[in-house]
């Protein structure tokens, strides 16, 4: 897939009562990292881009405005991975349908997880296991833009490194990543550009 001439993700005047306005452009294969104190509006920005929270302003995916997409299609391609993971069924495997389950079976060992984890119960998962499984679940959708909200917040150094490797592969495939992270080191390791969220506005660090 060749990189389109326009930005993969473009955000213009995006705002709600709670945050913004935000302007942003992320190219295919580019990662921008956003740091900032808790409650500064980082998650709000990602949720607005994914159209999970109501907002004014424009967002384009490969030059196409979000309102030209049915909302579920938009969210499938511009995928928000929340810091707090959500589970709606008892067994882990229930959260992966069809090809996603096969994908998950190949990804689980790569993220340092035991391979029988998928057949167990969600209740037995640790926070770190949940976080990695949610990441696999999200990437199984093959999004074009990945909005990662603290994807390694609950992970130790080794697991963090494994996650970062996977994210770099996605970048190489042309995925645009907006990464919210509390770790300045991670922002530098993964981000091609860095931003800070301050009082619900995006500023250069």
């Amino acid at each position: 897939m060749s990189a389109p001439p326009q930005a993969r993700l473009r955000v213009a005047g995006l705002h709600s009562r709670l945050a913004g306005p935000f302007d942003l452009a992320v190219d295919a294969g580019e990662c921008i990292a956003i740091a900032g104190p808790s409650g500064s509006g980082k998650s709000l920005l990602l949720r607005m881009i994914a159209d999970l929270d109501p907002s004014e302003g424009n967002v384009w995916l490969d030059g196409r405005e979000r309102h030209d997409f049915p909302a579920p299609v938009w969210r499938h391609q511009v995928l928000y991975n929340a810091a707090e993971t959500g589970w709606w069924s008892e067994t882990v495997a229930d959260h992966f349908l069809g090809p996603a389950l096969a994908f998950a079976r190949t990804m689980v060992p790569r993220l340092g997880l035991p391979s029988d984890l998928l057949d167990g119960s969600v209740l037995r998962l640790s926070t770190g296991e949940r976080q990695r499984l949610a990441l696999i679940r999200a990437l199984a959708c093959a999004p074009k833009v990945f909005l990662a909200d603290e994807p390694t917040g609950a992970l130790d150094q080794d697991a963090t490194a494994l996650v970062e490797t996977i994210l770099r592969e996605r970048l190489a495939d042309g995925v645009a990543i907006v990464l919210v992270t509390h770790s300045p080191e991670q922002a530098v390791r993964l981000g091609h550009r860095q931003f800070r969220m301050q009082d619900r506005h995006l500023v250069a660090p």
Partner: protein, 268 residues
């Protein structure tokens, strides 16, 4: 056989039991005697009042007056459904959702019974219409309020699970499917239990009443069976309606989960 009519003295003797409860509450320091006295007094006043009103309504027999009584009953039931959940939908949403679900389910089942099974002349005869609406309403109210409480409480508790599905590209109705299912179940369970227990664990109220009023037990059982079907049907309809109406109010044209439209009830 004519019913044995009660005299005020008969009732006064039964009231001694309530007095006994009050004495027990005082001696055991349960602190319930005040509440007990208020509840008992309310019950007597309310029932006597209803007796007088119904006597008047029956005597007049006007369809419009009957309709007015039914509408009042449905409105009060809708308010009850709206008031019970801990969570409130904005812009009087609970009331709108509760009243429309209860009205729809009650009127549908009551009309069905009056025009097919019971068939009084005229079909709106208040002797039949008002008690029928009353008993259907009581059950429908229960089913609808349990279902609504389950959905609104569940959606707050399960927010992360619903939003995770939305974020992965599920449609809103797909993401809510599990919650919708458990909430409808919750609303229907009491009715199912009631049907299963009828006649073995409890002698249902209508049947008891009719037997006391001198009706043949088998005839009374037939009435009770008809009513059980009506009550279950009505509760099911109301639970489904209240859950879907509330679910629709929690989303928008972009299939988001709009929990900003819910507020927790203030508890005094």
């Amino acid at each position: 056989m004519t019913p044995i009519l009660l005299h005020p003295g008969d009732i006064a003797i039964a009231a001694v039991l309530i007095l006994l409860d009050g004495v027990l509450s005082i001696t055991l320091q349960l602190g319930l005697h005040r509440q007990l006295a208020i509840a008992a007094t309310r019950m007597v006043v309310q029932l006597v009042l209803v007796g007088f009103i119904l006597r008047a309504v029956f005597a007049i027999g006007s369809p419009w007056l009957t309709l007015a009584v039914v509408v009042t009953m449905v409105a009060i039931a809708g308010r009850e459904v709206a008031a019970r959940p801990e969570q409130r939908l904005g812009r009087f949403g609970n009331y709108a959702v509760g009243a429309s679900a209860v009205a729809m389910a009650t009127l549908l089942t009551a009309l069905l019974a009056l025009t097919t099974a019971i068939r009084p002349h005229p079909w709106y005869d208040p002797h039949y219409a008002i008690p029928l609406v009353g008993i259907v309403l009581g059950n429908v109210l229960n089913g609808a309020s349990l279902a609504l409480d389950s959905l609104l409480g569940g959606v707050v508790r399960e927010r992360a699970a619903v939003e995770a599905q939305l974020a992965l590209g599920a449609s809103y109705m797909r993401a809510m499917r599990g919650l919708i299912r458990t909430s409808v179940r919750r609303g229907l369970l009491p009715t199912i239990n009631q049907m299963a227990a009828a006649g073995i664990i409890t002698l249902p109220g209508i049947m008891t009443g009719q037997i006391l009023a001198g009706m043949d037990p088998l005839e009374a059982a037939k009435y009770q069976i008809l009513l059980m079907f009506l009550l279950s049907g009505g509760s099911g309809l109301a639970a489904v309606a209240v859950v879907y109406l509330a679910a629709w109010r929690l989303t928008d044209d972009r299939q988001r989960l709009r929990l900003d439209r819910l507020t927790a009830k203030h508890r005094g």
